[in-house]
């Protein structure tokens, strides 16, 4: 288990995402409503880059004519074939057990905590006054 500091929280705008090369993999980090989610940047269906996916809401219909939108912005809709996935755990919406994207634990830490280590920060010095996105692989 290695913890990687990949960005300042301010580097990824709300509703946006950023791709990071971590341990030879492309991992995409999404920022939704103040939370961060990290997934392998590759759709398990046909390999499309997930950074181009649409961030959508979960739409359910308990009975005909009744619609409920929930978890706005927390679902991915793949850029190619429209397969939907839950950003929190990478599970697909239509077959959660069988089809999923690999997801990675993400945490947000303050620079102050990080300066005590241990972590891997290849790209930039850590400042006490900022907070950072950490991916575990």
């Amino acid at each position: 288990m290695t913890r990687h500091i990949v960005a300042r929280t301010s580097d990824i705008p709300p509703g946006g995402n950023k791709v990071f090369g971590v341990d030879g993999r492309d991992i995409v980090v999404f920022h939704v409503n103040g939370e961060f989610f990290a997934l392998l940047n590759r759709c398990p269906h046909a390999g499309a880059p997930l950074e181009k996916a649409a961030c959508v809401a979960r739409l359910t219909s308990p009975e005909p004519g009744v619609y409920e939108r929930s978890r706005v912005g927390e679902l991915l809709r793949c850029a190619w074939h429209g397969w939907e996935f839950d950003m929190r755990n990478g599970q697909s919406w239509f077959d959660p057990k069988r089809v999923k994207i690999r997801s990675y634990p993400v945490s947000v830490e303050s620079g102050e905590v990080l300066q005590k280590g241990p972590y891997v920060a290849e790209t930039f010095p850590v400042h006490v006054e900022d907070s950072y996105v950490i991916i575990e692989t």
């Binding site: 392998l40 590759r42 190619w80 074939h81």
Partner: protein, 370 residues
Amino acid sequence: MSDVIDRPILAEEAAAKSRLRIIDCDVHPSIHAHSDIEQFMPKRWQEHLRTYGSHLRTPYIGTTPYPRSSPLIARRDAWPPTGGPPGSDLDFMRKQHLDPLDIEYGILQVLDLFIFSQQNLEFGAAIQRAINDWQLAFWSDRDPRLKASILAGQDDTQLAIAEIERCAKIGRYVQINVCPRANEPLGRRRYWPIYARAQELGLPLGIHVGGYGGHAPTGGGWPSYYAEEHQSNAHTMAAQLTSLVLEGVPERFPNLKIIFIEGGFGWIPSATWRMDRHFEAFRSEVPHLKRRPSEYVKEHFWFTTQPIDEPDEGKHLRSLIEWVGVDRLLFSSDYPHWDFDDPRYAFRTPLTETERRKIFNGNARALYKL
């Protein structure tokens, strides 16, 4: 590389004796700006395009009958960084599609300007002429990998034949494309002069799904959902295959080659088995047929693979391929549309080296004389 998807086909190909390059039989270029197309139109039709535009059998000008799955039915990552719609920027198409997938040839299929759906047949023909010129000037001339098709709407048969003659003289087109949803089923005799000319010229007939005819796209009527309409492409293809075979087109034009584009191929076995049964029962109704319908299908028709069927078990896809026949299939990607098939991952069943060479290259090379 990935811990989710099987190793790409192309990695195996690289290790094979000779690299397998891909012929993609369905690539969609788009018009970047109306001015690009207007230079190929007489003033009279330029003004018509600006003043009246499309007149379709749909309720509102400039709309499609259904909302779509994504803007311009495109992959979300296919919008060129330089602006313009997906498929309108050759450099971006090279960078995103032709080069990384090692496409040896891409067969252009144009759907812009409701090309086969115009109710004003003369305006439709003017657009078709302009698009036929534009394909050469904007695509084939700039990238020799991209091969143009002669678009000829068949409901004004004389205009269609005039356009086929004009383009055939130029001699740089690989097929004649007609509308999949014309006013009558495609086997009807009113369209035979086109088939006769195609046979004489040695050009295959391409039929790409889509367009808005005056008929509901399914036998059940007008669908409620895009998912339902998308599925109806296969119904339309099945109806047209049946019409062409039973009306006797392959019997009458034994050297005509017909290609169904973007209808997939999962529906073919059932359609041909059923035609054969009916042929046995109702032979006296169609005495002009000399052989079983399935024999005509196996000798005169080809099918592009996308959108490929994805059964839960790979062996079922394997059976489908064997039933249809490896010789009948032509790989197609449908780039840049949302239901794009990636040649590395679309076939979720093992193929032998020989099968792969046929489907991804050899069949199309022979058919289009590339």
